[in-house]
């Protein structure tokens, strides 16, 4: 499962995400993003940063077609998602995992049922669900809390459930909107480590955050937005060399001045 990021040379496949001159105007005239052009290749790990209201979340909503651009186009895996019929939007969303700051778990379902729901919507047979859900929960480190309800879990654990749900369909693209926004630094590193691990298995990762310290330390591509425009796009040049997830976590903790502790 642990393989290197997919090399760009493999095939002339289109970028997984491509925005061309996309502008979003909210009802009332507020401009979400303005003429943003952005191209993200398969297997990349990209941070989107910027202050509150700069259009980061607008970008996420644009990619799952919760919003439609006033002008410009949004291509996912080479297809303009705003040209697909509305009925197909759920199919798009099954191919894109989403993780949010507030976890967005279903409060009256157990951890197992929350993750299982993402498989149920695709019509996965029950036997398959019974096999896959515990497996993915073990992967995110929640094998023991499978029958707990969300309110019995810590913030970090809830976020792990939400990541498990986002990843259980093995989507080629995973979007995380402030995934560590509600979490303490140590827990945040654990979450980032998990996202990094998922990225290393081939899933393109777009992480929206305003935690600039974390971004600086991780040394990944950074897209900075300001008032709806891209003002910085530092590409792969500063990627840390091939690093496995344990090395990653050790380095992150060291750089952020956190001792190795459990929890």
């Amino acid at each position: 499962m642990e393989e290197g990021p997919q090399s760009h040379a493999r095939a002339p496949r289109p970028p997984i995400v491509q925005l061309r001159d996309s502008t979003v105007v909210y009802p009332g005239g507020h401009v979400g993003i303005e003429r943003v052009s952005l191209s993200i290749d398969r297997g990349e790990f990209v941070f989107v940063v910027g202050s509150t209201g700069c259009g980061k979340s607008t970008l996420i909503k644009l990619l799952i077609r919760e919003l439609e651009p006033a002008s410009g186009s949004v291509m996912v895996a080479g297809k303009d998602i705003n040209e697909m019929p509305r009925k197909k939007v759920p199919l798009l969303r099954r191919r894109i995992g989403t993780v949010f700051q507030d976890f967005k778990l279903l409060p009256n379902r157990t951890v197992y049922d929350n993750v299982a729901y993402a498989l149920q919507v695709t019509g996965t047979p029950r036997g398959e669900i019974k096999r896959q859900v515990p497996e993915i929960l073990r992967m995110v480190g929640l094998g023991a809390k499978i029958h707990n309800f969300p309110d019995q879990l810590s913030g970090g654990e809830q976020q792990r459930v939400s990541i498990a749900r986002a990843f259980v369909n093995h989507p080629p693209l995973l979007l995380a909107d402030e995934p560590t926004g509600n979490l303490d630094p140590e827990t945040s590193i654990g979450i980032m480590q998990l996202l990094y691990r998922i990225n290393r298995s081939g899933t393109t990762m777009i992480v929206v955050t305003h935690d600039s310290e974390m971004v600086d330390k991780m040394k990944r591509r950074v897209v900075q937005l300001h008032e709806g425009r891209v003002i910085r796009d530092q590409a792969a040049g500063m990627y840390a060399s091939e690093e496995d997830t344990t090395e990653f976590a050790v380095r992150m903790r060291a750089e952020m001045g956190i001792d190795e502790v459990t929890g």
């Binding site: 799952i64 077609r65 919760e66 509305r86 009925k87 939007v89 759920p90 199919l91 798009l92 969303r93 099954r94 191919r95 989403t98 967005k104 778990l105 279903l106 409060p107 009256n108 379902r109 729901y117 993402a118 149920q120 919507v121 695709t122 019509g123 047979p125 029950r126 749900r165």
Partner: protein, 300 residues
């Protein structure tokens, strides 16, 4: 098949986990159905009674005793041809006497009158609606060129309108309008009451719907459990109401109906039929209410 059972288990889960709103919805539906279940037979009985009274309004056309049979026959056809006339009954002198005897509960009127029947033969003219009385009356005595009303035929002695026709017409007319208004208001109120309760219980779960959309559930995948839930709530509420109605019928209405004619009319609507309609409409309203309300939260 697996999908259908999934929808049912989802609906069951929602009912169990949202017990309070579900109970509120069930109680609301039960009360509404109960209200409708009581008022519909009452309205129906009142309507039937009102129509009974109105149907009694008729015109009597008295004929000269010595009229020719052919003349009478021709007049009967003429009257039957008048618009708004529902029917014409010929009442001979002998029949009139029998009716009088029955009314007075007195067997031997004829002998008291020296065996000479003074009663004239007559036509009883029934109307299609009491409101058309004037039109029929005018047709029975058309005006001559000089403007004076003339009887339709030489056989007509007198045209008589039943007493208190105007009062009966006014009162029954008002009652009919009132019953109609009550029925319409009741219908609207029930719809709003049930619709609003369902809306509230779904509104409380709109975040759940949002999450479902995020992980790529189709609209119908989200909607079916809610519709099934609505159906179950509708059935449960209607069953409770029908149970109470049945108890009420057995303990209150049935004993009374042996004594009072008006109460007896409550049974004009078959109880079984009423139950089927009530349960059916409660289910439809609740399920539709759930499905339609959800649309607002399903918009992308």
């Amino acid at each position: 098949m697996g999908r259908v059972s999934f929808f049912f288990s989802e609906a069951y889960r929602a009912l169990r986990r949202n017990a309070a709103p579900s109970v509120a919805a069930i109680v609301t539906i039960a009360i509404t159905v109960l209200l409708v279940g009581v008022l519909v037979p009452v309205l129906d009985a009142s309507g039937a009674k009102t129509n009974d009274v109105r149907d009694q309004i008729s015109l009597k056309v008295f004929l000269f005793k010595q009229s020719e049979k052919s003349e009478v026959k021709a007049l009967e056809e003429q009257i039957a041809g008048i618009p708004h006339v529902a029917g014409v009954d010929y009442i001979s002198s002998a029949q009139a006497l029998k009716i009088l005897e029955a009314d007075l509960d007195e067997k031997n009127i004829l002998s008291a009158l020296d065996n000479r029947n003074p009663l004239p033969p007559s036509f009883n003219v029934r109307l299609d609606d009491a409101d058309n009385l004037e039109a029929v009356q005018a047709a029975l005595s058309p005006t001559d060129p000089a403007g004076k009303p003339q009887p339709l035929s030489a056989a007509v002695e007198e045209i008589v309108v039943a007493d208190q026709t105007d009062q009966i017409r006014q009162v029954t007319g008002a009652v009919k309008i009132l019953l109609g208004v009550i029925a319409v208001l009741l219908g609207i109120a029930s719809l709003f009451l049930v619709g609003n309760t369902i809306r509230l219980s779904i509104y409380a779960r709109r975040r759940e719907v949002e999450v479902m959309r995020l992980v790529g559930a189709t609209s119908w995948f989200i909607r079916w459990p809610f519709v099934i839930e609505g159906l179950v709530v509708g059935i449960a509420g209607a069953m409770i109401a029908v149970g109470i109605l049945f108890l009420g019928k057995v303990t209150i209405v049935d004993p009374l109906s042996e004594k009072f004619a008006l109460v007896e009319n409550l049974n004009t609507i078959a109880f079984g039929q009423l139950i089927v309609v009530l349960i059916g409409s409660a289910m439809v309203v609740a399920a539709l209410g759930s499905g339609v309300t959800l649309r607002r939260f399903l918009r992308i």
